[in-house]
């Protein structure tokens, strides 16, 4: 009984149980040297995602500047990019009482996560530093506020989203410029279809919602996109919403969109555009870096791509989506960690950093930047072109995916294909969309 066999076998199983004790909670918020260490869940190196890559580099610069005082430590996080799983990921961490000190979220996700009561409120920090608060563009905090004036995030960018188009394909169909009204866009779509070209690339998710928002925003539904959407009720009573919904559906029925327009994978929409099977696709300026200049794009596609505001329902009524609904949030509670978090968000909203971010990602700065410095930074023309044009267009509105209820994306993905294939009328679709979006946000 006292032989070594017992330790080999029983010992192995016991070792497993002991291992368990060591595996948990390997987290520290300050090191021996007095340096304050904070965790960041969206600062990992990424060869494919320029946003993450920028965050990573910014964190390195921050660490260098504040060496010995503050240090940002990267948490490797598979859900750092934009995906449906991202909110679920942080909700799970919140349930496990383990939110990172720093991470990025959009406003819909922030609204869902504020329920956990575990987000830091930046309002007092901004109030205490008026000079810093004054550098931000107007309205950039609108989508990031809580019910009692809290500010849950420091905005990360302020982007104009429009429509990318393949100028060569449009020219072949007889158009020198992107059509200024939806009627003309449909005429263009019919011409393209006759040539065997898909007019518009959609994915059943992000890109499809962008077009839905464009149709609503340019059709008298700006108020809905700013206010109505958040209440998640009575959507079917708004004529602008119903008209936009039905029009977007008709493009599917009429064969103006790619056949795989429901997968919920943006990459399927991108594939249609990048392989020049589709002539247009809606997205933000980051599309250039993430897709257009990648190796899956047809050779020369970048040179023939233009970027335009959405058409209007009548002439002269163009619109763009302005996204400033994403930003840096913090789950830190410890005062020492919070000091470091405050310093970090101040750091990334400095002029040098916002320009570095713009150069790296194509995202436009959330703070006012000196025009000379802007010009000297030589930013991506496709991105800055629309940002400049955005100042002139009639309609500006937020994106529903960013500003709508947090459950919106999931609800949309589930219901939209069924509505398009004729399983339900528009009113039922909109009612159920609102109800599901509300329910899935944990309400």
């Amino acid at each position: 009984m006292h032989d070594r066999g017992s330790s080999v076998l029983a010992g192995f199983a016991a070792a497993l149980v002991i291992l368990a004790g060591c595996g948990a909670g390997a987290e520290s918020s300050s090191s021996d040297s007095g340096e304050v260490v904070i965790t960041c869940a969206t600062c990992q190196q990424s060869p494919t995602d320029p946003f993450l890559q920028y965050n990573y580099e910014a964190a390195q610069r921050f660490n260098e500047r504040y060496a010995g005082t503050y240090r940002v430590e990267t948490l490797e996080n598979p859900n750092a990019g934009s995906s449906d799983d991202r909110l679920q990921y942080y909700q799970r961490l919140a349930m496990a009482d383990d939110l990172p000190d720093l991470f990025q979220l959009n406003s819909g996700e922030i609204r869902a996560l504020q329920e956990t009561g575990r987000l830091h409120d930046f309002a007092p920090d901004l109030a205490a530093d008026e000079e810093w608060a004054g550098t931000f563009h107007d309205h950039v905090f609108d989508a990031l506020r809580g019910p009692d004036g809290q500010i849950w995030a420091i905005p990360q960018q302020r982007d104009a989203i429009g429509i990318f188009y393949n100028a060569e394909l449009l020219e072949r169909a007889g158009y020198d410029a992107f059509p200024p009204t939806w009627d003309e866009f449909e005429q263009l779509a019919a011409r393209l279809r006759a040539d065997g070209v898909t007019a518009l690339a959609l994915d059943g998710d992000w890109a499809t919602m962008l077009m839905w928002v464009h149709l609503i925003g340019t059709g008298g539904g700006e108020d809905f996109l700013i206010d109505g959407i958040t209440s998640a009720d009575g959507w079917a009573d708004d004529p602008a919403v119903v008209a936009a919904t039905e029009r977007l559906r008709s493009w599917h029925v009429d064969g103006y969109v790619n056949a795989d327009a429901f997968s919920g994978e943006f990459q399927n929409a991108a594939a249609a555009y990048l392989s020049e099977q589709a002539a247009t696709i809606a997205n933000g300026p980051w599309f250039v870096k993430t897709n257009l200049t990648g190796d899956a794009a047809s050779p020369g596609l970048y040179e023939k791509t233009g970027f335009a505001p959405a058409p209007g329902w009548s002439a002269g009524e163009r619109g763009v989506i302005v996204v400033s609904g994403a930003g840096w949030v913090s789950g830190a509670t410890d005062e020492r960690a919070l000091t470091a978090v405050r310093e970090f968000v101040r750091f990334v909203s400095s002029q040098d950093e916002v320009l570095a971010q713009a150069a790296a990602t194509g995202a436009s700065p959330p703070v006012a930047v000196d025009p000379d410095a802007m010009a000297a930074a030589e930013l991506e023309p496709l991105a800055t072109g629309l940002a400049e044009e955005a100042a002139e267009v009639t309609h500006r509105y937020p994106h529903v995916r960013v500003h709508g209820p947090a459950g919106f994306g999931v609800a949309w993905r589930n219901l939209w294909p069924a509505y398009v294939d004729g399983s339900m009328p528009a009113a039922e679709f909109l009612d159920r969309l609102a109800a599901d979006a509300r329910a899935q946000a944990g309400g």
């Binding site: 192995f12 595996g23 494919t48 948490l75 598979p78 990459q267 594939a271 190796d295 899956a296 794009a297």
Partner: protein, 279 residues
């Protein structure tokens, strides 16, 4: 094979081959097509032009390691699959031996309990498992995953090892006892070597099952540095930073690992599945 066995007749053979070919095509076509597509360029994948790669490129495989960093997930998964299987086998062997050999109070209850666990659709227990992992501090940790997988594979491993032990003669053990060998000595020196075929079998099967596990990995692992290959596969789709050829090549590698294990150790896998089913 005995002469008494019915064999395929010459007349029926073409029919049999036709049928088998259809079954093979139904089972294999989509997977084979995707594997072949791992040698295509991104442009060719996106256009869907042509079944065969034209031109052939290994760029996807390069990207799978340089951009997606597949090796990192592979290492995690190897850790879970080897240590998880080892843990399950150690615990199951230790339990299966006394429960196969000795009569004592509570024996049938334990056997029934351990075996019935095999018949539980465990996904129904998702939330309680999450709760327990969290309370034990095992949430999002490698050690936690190893322990959990050991537990998940325990019932299957136990059932197979015990039924194997029941069918092995015990003369050698009795002889060892005569020589004064203790319980653990007998177990390790005498029984363990005898059980080797069954151990190989359960090792292979549980390795493959842990390699392929998605549900609980998705539930318990949030940090990228802890994730397994199946989570990596599912995460290949997102709006930013998608590399389609890298994803397909990565998926091909993830699929090939259990396939190679199976083809190399076919006999063990089939014996294991058969033994687990006929309990």
């Amino acid at each position: 094979m005995s002469a008494a066995r019915p064999r395929i007749s010459r007349r029926a053979a073409p029919l049999a081959y036709g049928f088998l070919t259809v079954v093979t095509l139904l089972a294999l076509t989509p997977t084979a097509w995707v594997m072949v597509s791992s040698l295509k360029t991104g442009t060719q994948v996106f256009t869907g032009a042509g079944v065969l790669p034209d031109p052939v490129t290994l760029q996807g495989y390069v990207d799978a390691f340089t951009q997606i960093e597949l090796h990192h997930y592979v290492l995690n998964t190897l850790l879970y699959a080897t240590l998880g299987s080892a843990g399950a086998i150690a615990a199951a062997f230790l339990a299966a031996y006394p429960l196969a050999r000795y009569a004592f109070r509570g024996r049938s209850t334990l056997v029934a309990g351990f075996s019935l666990a095999l018949a539980i659709p465990v996904v129904g227990l998702a939330t309680p498992e999450f709760f327990i992992m969290r309370e034990l501090g095992l949430f999002d940790s490698r050690a936690g995953m190893v322990i959990f997988y050991a537990a998940l594979q325990f019932p299957f491993t136990f059932v197979v090892l015990r039924s194997y032990l029941l069918s092995t003669p015990r003369e050698l053990e009795e002889a060892a006892a005569m020589d004064g060998a203790g319980y653990f000595t007998t177990m390790v020196r005498v029984v363990l070597p005898l059980t080797r075929p069954a151990l190989a079998t359960v090792a292979v099967v549980s390795f493959v099952q842990i390699w392929n596990e998605f549900f609980f990995a998705n539930l318990f692992l949030v940090s990228q540095e802890h994730q397994n290959v199946q989570l990596a596969l599912a995460g290949f789709r997102s709006q930013f930073g998608f590399n389609v050829t890298g994803a397909i090549a990565g998926a091909t590698i993830v699929m090939l690992v259990p396939i190679i294990v199976f083809v190399a150790l076919q006999r063990q896998v089939i014996a294991g599945l058969t033994a687990g089913a006929v309990k």
